[in-house]
C-alpha cells in the first residue's frame, strides 16, 4: 500500500464527506409549500392552536423568564425585503405596521388606532395612536409611515413582493416602473393622520398591510447605516432585537412600553445553529419542539412521559395538491383528470400513512378560511366511477393509448418524493391501471420549470399569504395569472373572479368565490390532496399561552412562564 494511494483516498474521502448529505431531522422532508412559506425551520414548530393551558391574560406575576427555541437564520431582518415565513416570524415580533392580526385572525389596529374608509371603498384614512413609539422612545408619526411606504416601493430596495402587497395603492406601479418619484396615493394629512388611496375597492387591502412589506421603519435608524441598520433595528414591535450572531443565536428582549401591551417574557432566545429538536427538547434545552412522523407514534402513546406535553396545532391555511397541465395529453381530457381524482382513497392514506396529521382536501380553500364552502362537491373515492370516466375519455378503454405521465416533485431543500405520493401513484396503478413515473428536481430548477409551465404533472402546495379567497382562487386559477401553473382557463371562472375582486358586499363576494371554486373543482385541473392537518408539537408544561394559529401572527408577547417544571 503506497502512501500516495492512501493520500488520495483520504482526499477523496473528504470529497465524499463533503458531498454527502441529509438534513439532520428532515422534518418529514416536506414538499415545497407555497413559496415563501416553504419554511426550512428545522423544528417546523407550527403555528399551532390555542394551547391546552388556559389563557390567562397577563397578571402581574407572570412576567419574566426566557423562552428558548430552535430556529434557523432568517434570510433577512429587513421587513421590506421579506419574502419567507422564517424571516417574517421574527420580523413581526420586532416591527409593526398600521394594522396587525390578532389571535382570532381578525385584522386589528396596531400603529393605527382606527381608520375611516370612504364610501367608494378606495380611500383609507388612518389615525395613528398617540402612545405608539419606536424602541428608542420616538413617537411614530404619519411621516414615518409615508417614508416607509416610499422606501418599500423604491425599486432600489428590490423588494420581490412589493407589487403583491402594496401594488393596490395608487401610484405604486408608476413608482416601481420608474415613472414617478413618489407614491401619489399616499398623503400625510397631519402628524397623526395618513390617507391611502387604492385603485379599486378591495376588501382584502387591509389584510395585505399586515405583511411586513407595509411595516413602519425608522428613517434615522436606516439612514445612519443603510447597509447594516437591521443589526440594531429600531422597530415598533413588542420585542427588541438585543443580540444577533449570524448562524449562532438571536435574542429578543422585551419592549416594556409596547403600545398593545408589553410582553411577559424578558427574553426569547432562538438557537440558529441547528440541531435535533426532539433531542434538545428531551434534554430540556428548548421549550418547544415540532414532532416528525417518526416520533409521533411513540409520543401519542399515553404511557409516554411526553404525552402530556403534547399540543395540537390547528391546520395552517394551506393546501397540498397535484397540479395537472390541462394542455398536456392525457391530462387534456377533463374525464381523465376527474378519474385521477376519484381513484385516490385520501382518507385511508391520511390515516395509515400520515398519522392523521393532515385533513383530506375536498376543494381548494382550507377549512376555516374566509369563504370556505362546506357544501362544495368534491371527489369521493370511487374506483368504479373512475374507471368508467377513464373509458369514456377520448383515450378510451385501451390503456396503451394513454400517453405516459410524469409527475415532478421537489423538496424545499434537495429533492424528495413524499410517502403519500408514492401511495397515490400506486393507487392510480391499482385502480386505473395508469402507471405514472416520478421525476425529482431540486427547488430552483423546479420553480423555473413550474413558471414556464413545462410540467405535465407536479406535486406542490400553497400557503395563504393573507386571509382572503383571492389569495388562492384568483392567483392560482385566473387564466391570466402568472401563477396559473396548470394552464387552466375557463372564461366563466375568470369573470366570476373578476367580479369578486371589486365586490364590496362580503357575503356576495364569497358567493362568487364559492361558485368559481365549484367550477374549478369540476374541471379538475388539480387533485387536491391535503389541508395541513392538526399538527402536533411539544411544549414544556411551564410555558403558557403559546398561541398557535393558522397564520403567523405576533404571538410571543402573550407567552408567559411559570416556575413549576
Amino acid at each position: 500500500m503506497g502512501w500516495k494511494t492512501l493520500l488520495f483516498i483520504l482526499g477523496s474521502l473528504f470529497l465524499i464527506a463533503a458531498c454527502s448529505g441529509s438534513s439532520s431531522d428532515p422534518a418529514p422532508a416536506s414538499q415545497p409549500t407555497a413559496a415563501p412559506a416553504a419554511t426550512e425551520e428545522p423544528t417546523q414548530v407550527p403555528a399551532a392552536a390555542q394551547s391546552a393551558q388556559q389563557p390567562a391574560a397577563g397578571d402581574g406575576d407572570t412576567s419574566g423568564g426566557k423562552l428558548v427555541r430552535l430556529f434557523v437564520d432568517p434570510p433577512t431582518l429587513d421587513p421590506h425585503l421579506t419574502t419567507d415565513a422564517t424571516s417574517a416570524q421574527v420580523i413581526i415580533e420586532v416591527f409593526g405596521g398600521l394594522v396587525t392580526i390578532d389571535r382570532d385572525l381578525n385584522v386589528v389596529p396596531d400603529l393605527a388606532e382606527d381608520w375611516d374608509i370612504s364610501p367608494d371603498g378606495r380611500v383609507y384614512t388612518f389615525h395613528l395612536r398617540s402612545d405608539a413609539t419606536f424602541h428608542d422612545g420616538k413617537p411614530v408619526t404619519a411621516e414615518d409611515v409615508r417614508w416607509s411606504l416610499e422606501r418599500a416601493t423604491n425599486p432600489l430596495t428590490e423588494s420581490p413582493v412589493v407589487d403583491q402587497y402594496l401594488g393596490d395603492i395608487v401610484g405604486v406601479k408608476e413608482k416601481l416602473n420608474g415613472d414617478a418619484e413618489t407614491i401619489s396615493g399616499v398623503r400625510v394629512i397631519d402628524d397623526k393622520t395618513l390617507e391611502i388611496t387604492i385603485d379599486a375597492s378591495k376588501s382584502y387591502f387591509l389584510a395585505k398591510l399586515t405583511y411586513p412589506t407595509g411595516f413602519v421603519l425608522d428613517r434615522e435608524n436606516i439612514e445612519a447605516d443603510p447597509k447594516r441598520w437591521f443589526r440594531k433595528p429600531n422597530g415598533t414591535g413588542p420585542f427588541k432585537l438585543s443580540q444577533y450572531d449570524v448562524g449562532e443565536t438571536m435574542v429578543l428582549s422585551r419592549f416594556p412600553t409596547y403600545h398593545l401591551g408589553a410582553p411577559h417574557l424578558d427574553e426569547v432566545e432562538m438557537i440558529l445553529s441547528g440541531g435535533t429538536s426532539m433531542l434538545m427538547y428531551e434534554n430540556d434545552e428548548i421549550h418547544v419542539a415540532g414532532i416528525g412522523l417518526a416520533d409521533l407514534d411513540r409520543i401519542l402513546d399515553p404511557g409516554n412521559s411526553l404525552n402530556s406535553e403534547l399540543l395540537q396545532a390547528p391546520p395552517t391555511f394551506s393546501v397540498q395538491y397535484i397540479g395537472m397541465n390541462v394542455n398536456e395529453p392525457p391530462l387534456d381530457d377533463v374525464k381523465v383528470r376527474q378519474a385521477l381524482n376519484l381513484a385516490i382513497d385520501k382518507q385511508n392514506l391520511a390515516t395509515s400513512v400520515l398519522a392523521d396529521q393532515v385533513v383530506p382536501a375536498n376543494g381548494i380553500l382550507p377549512p376555516g378560511f374566509p369563504g370556505f364552502n362546506t357544501n362544495l362537491r368534491g371527489y369521493r373515492f370511487d374506483p368504479e366511477r373512475a374507471r368508467q370516466l377513464l373509458s369514456e375519455s377520448k383515450y378510451g378503454d385501451d390503456l396503451d393509448n394513454i400517453p405516459p405521465i410524469t409527475m415532478t416533485t421537489s423538496g424545499s431543500f434537495g429533492a424528495s418524493v413524499s410517502l403519500d405520493m408514492e401511495v397515490v401513484l400506486q393507487m392510480w396503478k391499482k385502480n386505473l391501471g395508469i402507471e405514472a413515473e416520478f421525476q425529482q428536481t431540486e427547488f430552483a430548477t423546479f420553480l423555473k420549470d413550474l413558471h414556464n409551465r413545462r410540467f405535465q404533472m407536479f406535486d406542490i402546495g400553497w400557503i395563504a399569504d393573507y386571509p382572503d379567497p383571492e389569495n388562492f382562487l384568483d392567483i392560482l386559477f385566473h387564466s391570466e395569472s402568472s401563477n396559473n401553473h396548470t394552464n387552466y382557463s375557463n372564461p366563466q371562472v375568470d369573470s366570476l373572479l373578476e367580479r369578486a375582486r371589486t365586490e364590496t358586499d362580503e357575503s356576495l363576494r364569497f358567493q362568487l368565490y364559492n361558485q368559481a371554486e365549484q367550477l374549478i373543482v369540476d374541471d379538475a385541473p388539480w387533485v387536491p390532496l391535503w389541508y395541513s392537518g392538526e399538527r402536533f408539537l411539544l411544549v414544556k408544561p411551564n410555558v403558557h399561552d403559546y398561541y398557535l394559529t393558522p397564520l403567523y401572527i405576533p404571538r410571543l408577547r402573550y407567552v408567559y412562564l411559570t416556575d413549576e417544571e
Binding site: 483520504l10 464527506a17 463533503a18 448529505g21 434570510p75 433577512t76 429587513d78 441547528g274 430552483a444
Partner: protein
C-alpha cells in the same frame, strides 16, 4: 526549490481566473434563477426582470465578470443574494473558522487513534492482532455518517446524557467531541493503514538493520529510526487535507448544530446565491492549489531521488 515554488505560484491567479469564470458562466447559463428562488411560487416575470436589472444580472457576462473580479481584487466579494444585506465576507469568515476548527479536531481523532493502531498492527504484522486491528478501523471507515451521527447523539447525548446535543461553543468545549468523533473515525482506517505500511517499509530498511546490528537499544531504534521515518507519509497526508480544511460536511453540521460552511454552500447552491458560491469556489481553489503544491514539495522528502524542477517536475 525557490524558483520552482515561484513558478507554481505564478499559476495560481491564472487558475483562479479560469475557475471563477467557469463558475460564473455555469451560474449564469445554468438552470434556476436567484430572484425566482427569492420569490418562490409567486411568479411575477416583471418583478424578476426589474430586480435582475437592478443587480446587473442582465448585463453582458464579461461585463459582469469584469466587475466581479475588479471588486474581488479590492477585497469586496459582494453581498449575498439570499441573506439580504449581508456581505459574503461576514457570512463566510466565521463559518470557515468554525469548519477549520472542527476539521482539526477530527484530524486529531484520526491521527490520535490511527497512528497507534497502525504501529500496533505493524509490530504484530501477520498475526491475528494485525488483521483485527486493521479490520476494526475499516469498519469505522465503512459505516456511513448517517448512522454514526444519530447513533452517537442517541447514546451519548440522550441515553447517557453526558454530552450536549448540539451547538458550537468553541474549540475547547464538550460540544466538539461528538462531531469530531463522527468525522474523525472514518479517517482512522486511512491513517492506521498508512502508518502500518510505512512502518513495515521502514523496518526493512538497511539503516534499521544497521542500527540493530550496531546493538542500539530497541527503544532507541524504534523511536529514533522507525517512528520518525514512518510518520513522514502521515504528515504529508495531513498536508493534503489542508485543501478541505475550511469545509465541513453539511450533514455533520446539521446533525450536531454547527454553524459551518457546508450548510451555507448547499443553501447557496440551492438558492443560486452566486456571490457566495463564487467566493467559496475561489477560496476552495486557492487552498486546493496550495495543498497540491505542498504535496509536490513533499514528494522529494519522501523519495530523495526525485528532484524538483528541471526535467523532473515542471
Amino acid at each position: 526549490m525557490g524558483p520552482y515554488i515561484v513558478r507554481r505560484l505564478v499559476w495560481l491567479p491564472v487558475i483562479l481566473l479560469i475557475v471563477s469564470f467557469i463558475t460564473f458562466a455555469l451560474g449564469r447559463f445554468g438552470p434556476g434563477d436567484p430572484v425566482e428562488v427569492l420569490m418562490g411560487q409567486h411568479s411575477n416575470p416583471e418583478v424578476v426582470e426589474r430586480i435582475r436589472e437592478q443587480r446587473g444580472l442582465n448585463d453582458n457576462i464579461f461585463v459582469q465578470y469584469g466587475r466581479y473580479i475588479w471588486n474581488v481584487t479590492h477585497g469586496d466579494f459582494g453581498e449575498s443574494f439570499k441573506y439580504r444585506g449581508r456581505t459574503v465576507g461576514e457570512l463566510l469568515k466565521k463559518k470557515m473558522w468554525v469548519s477549520a476548527q472542527l476539521n482539526i479536531a477530527a484530524l486529531i481523532v484520526s491521527v490520535g487513534l490511527g497512528v497507534p493502531v497502525g504501529l500496533f498492527a505493524a509490530m504484530k504484522q501477520g498475526t491475528g492482532w494485525d488483521t483485527v486491528a486493521v479490520s476494526i478501523t475499516l469498519v469505522g471507515q465503512s459505516v456511513p455518517i448517517f448512522l454514526t451521527a444519530p447513533g452517537l447523539l442517541l447514546i451519548f447525548a440522550l441515553k447517557l446524557d453526558v454530552l450536549p446535543t448540539h451547538g458550537w461553543e468553541g474549540f475547547f468545549s464538550p460540544n466538539l467531541v461528538l462531531p469530531a468523533v463522527a468525522m474523525g473515525v472514518p479517517g482512522v482506517a486511512i491513517i492506521a493503514r498508512l502508518t502500518r505500511a510505512s512502518t513495515m517499509d521502514v523496518v526493512s530498511q538497511d539503516y534499521v538493520r544497521t542500527a540493530r546490528a550496531k546493538g542500539l537499544p530497541e527503544s532507541i531504534v524504534r523511536n529514533r529510526h522507525i517512528l520518525r521515518n514512518s510518520l513522514i507519509p502521515v504528515v504529508t497526508t495531513l498536508g493534503f487535507s489542508l485543501a478541505s480544511l475550511a469545509f465541513t460536511s453539511f450533514i455533520v453540521e446539521r446533525f450536531f448544530g454547527i454553524p459551518g460552511v457546508g450548510n451555507l454552500l448547499i443553501e447557496s447552491v440551492f438558492a443560486r446565491d452566486f456571490p457566495v458560491i463564487n467566493a467559496i469556489v475561489l477560496i476552495g481553489t486557492t487552498l486546493f492549489v496550495m495543498a497540491n503544491l505542498l504535496v509536490d514539495l513533499l514528494y522529494p522528502v519522501m523519495d530523495p531521488r526525485i528532484r524538483l524542477g528541471a526535467s523532473q517536475i515542471a
